[in-house]
């Protein structure tokens, strides 16, 4: 799925941020003393999908965390519709959903209470919560405390946050982990509806997901050579 034409090349994008969509320029990431990737550019128009691929440790999760604003990039800058993110972090937080590896669920709260909390913190209402639970096949489990949910159900509940409160940018770190085929289909349907509404999405995955018109970004192309890694940290 990573044929050369669909991989965004490092130097084919202009240096100025585009006016439309989410973009990153010359991004570099350092974890500990190691430069994970550098010189990474990406552009994501509204309605677009960007799939991060690469071996373990190539920086997929790190890039998603940089995009979310959790980790500052070691170098480079991100922009949304031409405005640098570091100028308006609050606006960026309000427009994104980030679903990482952890499901952020409390064992003693019911599925409905848990989703209700995350949704109402973003201004959503009870109807949206019920719809999102139903859409991810959790209607029957709504009253169950999260400690009784299976791993796949917990994943579905975490993903239900995406549709319970709308946000134009979704950042998903291996979202299909633990999902059965029904769950994966529900996820793909949610992503398709999100993109039809002009939403954009970045996700990392190892399992092939059927995303039409998705751009692929191979992180291993931005791995520094040994001499560059040494030079950048010197």
């Amino acid at each position: 799925m990573s044929d050369a034409s669909s991989v965004i090349a490092a130097h084919s994008v202009p240096a100025t941020p585009p006016d439309d969509g989410f973009a990153g320029r010359h991004l570099a990431c350092r974890r500990g003393e190691r430069l994970v990737f550098h010189g990474l550019d990406f552009t994501l128009p509204s309605g677009g999908a960007l799939v991060l691929i690469g071996p373990n440790g190539s920086g997929k999760s790190s890039l998603l965390r940089i995009m979310a604003g959790l980790t500052p990039p070691f170098a480079g800058a991100l922009s949304w519709n031409g405005v640098a993110l570091r100028e308006d972090r609050a606006a960026h937080r309000a427009r994104l959903h980030f679903i990482g590896h952890a499901d952020a669920l409390k064992p003693v709260l019911s599925a409905q209470e848990m989703l209700g909390f995350w949704t109402r913190m973003r201004g959503g209402d009870a109807d949206a919560v019920a719809r999102a639970l139903a859409q991810f096949g959790l209607g029957a489990a709504a009253e169950l405390p999260c400690r009784y949910l299976s791993a796949g159900q917990k994943r579905r509940l975490a993903l239900a946050r995406l549709i319970a409160s709308p946000a134009p940018l979704w950042l998903l770190d291996e979202p299909s982990t633990g999902l059965d085929s029904d769950g994966a289909a529900q996820l793909l349907a949610a992503i398709a509806a999100h993109r039809r509404g002009g939403g954009s999405i970045v996700l990392s995955t190892h399992a092939p997901l059927d995303l039409p018109d998705a751009a692929y970004l191979s992180l291993s192309e931005f791995r520094p050579s040994r001499s560059e890694a040494g030079g950048a940290l010197a």
């Binding site: 959790l70 500052p72 980030f98 003693v108 209470e113």
Partner: protein
Amino acid sequence: MSPFLLLVGRDLRLALRQGGDAAMVVAFFVLTVVLFPFGVGPEPELLQRIATGIIWVTALLASLLSLERLFQADFDDGSLEALALLPLPLEAQVLAKCLAHWLVSGLPLTVVAPLLGLLLHLDSAGYPILVLGMAIGTPVLSLLGAIGAALTLGARRGGVLLSLLVLPLYIPVLIFGVAAVEAQIAGFPSRPHLLLLAALLILALGLVPFAAAGALRQAVE
């Protein structure tokens, strides 16, 4: 409901469902205070003289008990990342979590303190000031503790480290809390001590959210 109150409500609900946290803090407080008459002897004059000090020192230790959990559970299950990405600023979230922590630790301690005063023959003039002082002082304990709890996230043996970090910061609260009661019993005005406690509270309310939120951002980075 505002996001601030939603977060307070969630933390209260978690504390009540998981049970134990509030009850454990109060039980520790009562049991430890009850140990003192066994240790120093039951003479009413002696107990009366050290009653305020015992109650305040034990309250400090009891409020430390549940502090370790303030952010740790959210850190472990990934909630802290999700919280940090909510539109509600992390500074406001720190205040919300401190308020919830105070409601299940400082407030019960304040309510129980006069009963323990009775046990230790505390002079009757001291009771109103003891309660008032604890009502002003225990929120400072929750707030200062939040800095320690945020800084020690992810550290091994974080609970011990937390105590070492936070207990020295508790000293001013202890001094003015005890001094207010002692002054009242001795017939001096307690007002200056209470005002100083209130000043500590205002200072903590203004500074702690920024310090703790900074430490939390480091922790989720």
